[in-house]
């Protein structure tokens, strides 16, 4: 495998990892606050649809992004209502949200566009275009560093940069701010937060809302940056992979970055059987290739990652009086 192939592979990794990363961070905020969220998939899907739909209707991708985030936030509100206010089962709520998004997106799409649950193709200002960073063209020919900068670092949509910036930001918020301290505390011991005079409900809603925001961006990225429109079920299980990455990352922001990049890399490798062949020397059979990312995950999980301890109050509603 030559250098440029490696760069291409990593480039693909970055694109595939971005929606996972955003969804993973979304789950991180929510679960760190003690609210499990298996509805990442549904929120992402809803956002993918609404951002594409509104972008297509208005011609503005930014309005689309806003609509995508709004729809994801609305589902977050449902999740909050069920699991925070009414202390319902967080897993059931998440399952319901996934179903709701899968059904509603197609229903509405069909109602609005009558294109079989699809939005019209987006073009021009209705899409996020790749951004060429300064000097990218200029340094392209510099050996080694040139392709690295031009191919890998430059040339992504703004949402990719936003996703990667979200990692240090998340870390900073969680570990360097008052809000983060309280948010982590409420996921570990809500009673401690309550008796310290801080609203458990308020914090959890805030966390769930942030999760909605990030899922919204992830969905918008799928349909308006990676793609030029919505196709039904286009989240294709990425929310679940993000969830796996979150556990993999042991609920930590930087680990989340590495975990999602790893999943991204596996995905990228799957599209490059030639690379795998050149590395291991034999042609990988088709279906095995498809299973490879998942097999690798299991192997890594079993071999190198120890026990992951979730936030202690995770999944449990905060009940003071029975």
């Amino acid at each position: 495998m030559d250098y440029i192939t490696l760069i291409q592979l990593l480039d693909s990794t970055v694109r595939l990892a971005t929606p996972l990363l955003l969804a993973c961070l979304a789950g991180l905020f929510s679960e760190r606050a003690g609210v499990f969220d298996i509805g990442l998939e549904g929120k992402m899907l809803a956002a993918a649809f609404f951002s594409a739909a509104v972008a297509s209707l208005t011609g503005s991708v930014w309005l689309g992004l806003a609509a995508g985030i709004a729809s994801s936030l609305a589902l977050s509100a449902v999740h909050g209502l069920a699991s925070i206010t009414f202390r319902g089962n967080q897993l059931i709520s998440g399952v319901a949200i996934n179903f709701l998004a899968a059904g509603m997106t197609v229903l509405i799409a069909q109602d609005w566009f009558a294109q079989g649950g699809r939005t019209p193709s987006l073009f021009g200002g209705a899409r996020f275009e790749p951004i060429t960073l300064p000097f990218a063209e200029a340094v392209a020919d510099v050996p080694f560093i040139g392709p690295f900068y031009e191919e890998l670092i430059s040339g992504h949509s703004i949402l990719v940069y936003a996703a990667f910036l979200a990692v240090p930001l998340t870390w900073w918020i969680l570990f360097r701010t008052r809000f983060g301290l309280r948010l982590r505390a409420v996921g570990e011991n809500p009673a401690a937060v309550d008796t310290a005079g801080v609203s458990v409900v308020g914090l959890r809603y805030a966390a769930v809302a942030i999760a909605g925001l990030l899922c919204g961006v992830a969905g918008a990225y799928l349909s308006t940056a990676l793609q030029a429109g919505f196709v039904k079920d286009m989240s294709a299980g990425r929310g679940f992979i993000a969830l796996a990455a979150l556990i993999f990352a042991k609920w930590r922001p930087w680990y989340a970055l590495w975990a999602t990049l790893l999943f991204g890399l596996f995905g990228a490798l799957e599209t490059r059987p030639d690379v795998i062949q050149s590395v291991i020397g034999i042609k990988v059979q088709g279906q095995l290739l498809g299973a490879l990312p998942y097999l690798m995950t299991v192997v890594i999980l079993a071999g190198f990652v120890g026990k992951a301890i979730p936030p202690r109050a995770g999944g449990e509603p905060y009940v003071k009086e029975r």
């Binding site: 192939t5 291409q8 693909s12 694109r15 595939l16 929606p19 294109q115 079989g116 649950g117 699809r118 193709s121 799928l222 990676l226 793609q227 030029a228 429109g229 196709v231 039904k232 079920d233 286009m234 294709a236 299980g237 995905g267 990228a268 599209t271 490059r272 059987p273 030639d274 042609k283 088709g286 279906q287 498809g290 299973a291």
Partner: protein, 310 residues
């Protein structure tokens, strides 16, 4: 009143089922008739839909996809007075069923010829949806066309996945396309349902040519889709509905190039892309296939492909 049963992909899959839907719609518009329809949601519904329509007196009942063969073989004998048509099936022996199959490998061969001629890098791509024999069948014909035209060419083939999600993952389709471009492909043929949307989009974005499938997809990205491999499911459905109660059953119809059941799409959207030589080559290949001078090997013959390794 005729009834139409779509396969799992749903009637708006932008290819196979949608073509059937278009044919039925055309019939409805022209005749003012109405037809019943259902989109399959689960395997158990296949038999159910057949029976329910048969019992309600629908005739003929047109069903889509090879997966209907098995349910049909149990249901059709129970309703001898009902006429059935099934698309993509040719191995049943039932007196009241009309079986229509297409020579997709022949059509794919032709687009392969065009791809090979349009390619400057001598590398072309194929993106399949879910890894099933039918898709390999498409890819196999395509690869034969490519190799026959340019023996030095390279065909890169990828499948999107092994679950039904593979039909609706444009993001992955897009990534596969980029990977193929990175390996030098400058024409890619998508036979992947909703995933194909991503393939065509990315090809257009990255400035390479793409080839659509089943329906005419040239208009999706005018000037960027080289052609589409047409599979005239719409015609088959339209004809069956037109025939109505007089539908001829008990026979197996194979629609190939000769019958214009499959072909390449030429229209104003790709006129600039198709050179005279290309046209000539395609016409010549078509004729030779019809005449039997060229034999395009079907993947089904011995579950393998002479031109491509899956």
């Amino acid at each position: 009143e005729p009834a139409l049963i779509f396969d799992l992909g749903g009637k708006f899959d932008k290819s196979f089922n949608e073509a059937a839907f278009n044919g039925a719609t055309r019939w409805a518009e022209e005749t003012g008739g109405k037809f019943a329809e259902i989109e399959m949601q689960s395997e158990a519904q296949r038999e159910q839909a057949l029976r329910r329509f048969a019992e309600s007196g629908a005739n003929p009942i047109i069903t889509m996809g090879f997966a209907m063969a098995d349910p049909l073989s149990t249901v059709a004998p129970d309703y001898p007075d009902t006429k059935f048509a099934v698309v993509d099936v040719n191995w049943l022996d039932l007196p009241n069923v009309r079986q229509v199959s297409f020579a997709e490998h022949e059509g794919s061969y032709l687009v392969g010829v065009m791809a090979a001629m349009a390619s400057e890098s001598n590398t072309v791509g194929f993106v399949g949806g879910m890894d099933v024999p039918l898709i390999r069948h498409f890819g196999c014909g395509y690869a034969q066309g490519v190799m026959a035209t340019n023996p030095d060419a390279k065909v890169i083939a990828n499948m999107t996945g092994t679950t039904p999600a593979a039909w609706n993952d444009p993001v992955k389709g897009s990534e596969i396309t980029k990977a193929q471009i990175n390996q030098g492909a400058d024409v890619v043929y998508a036979a992947a349902g909703g995933t194909g949307v991503g393939v065509l989009q990315t090809a257009a974005d990255e400035g390479i040519l793409s080839i659509g499938v089943d329906s005419n997809q040239n208009h999706l990205h005018p000037g960027k889709v080289l052609t589409s491999m047409l599979k005239r499911v719409d015609v088959a459905v339209y004809d069956a509905m037109m025939a109505g109660e007089d539908l001829e059953v008990g026979e197996v119809v194979t629609l190939g190039l000769a019958e214009e059941g499959v072909g390449v799409a030429m229209d104003e959207h790709n006129a600039d892309l198709v050179t005279e030589e290309m046209k000539a080559a395609v016409d010549e290949a078509r004729q030779k296939i019809i005449d039997g001078e060229i034999k395009v090997v079907s993947y089904y013959e011995n579950d393998s492909c002479p031109a491509l390794d899956f």
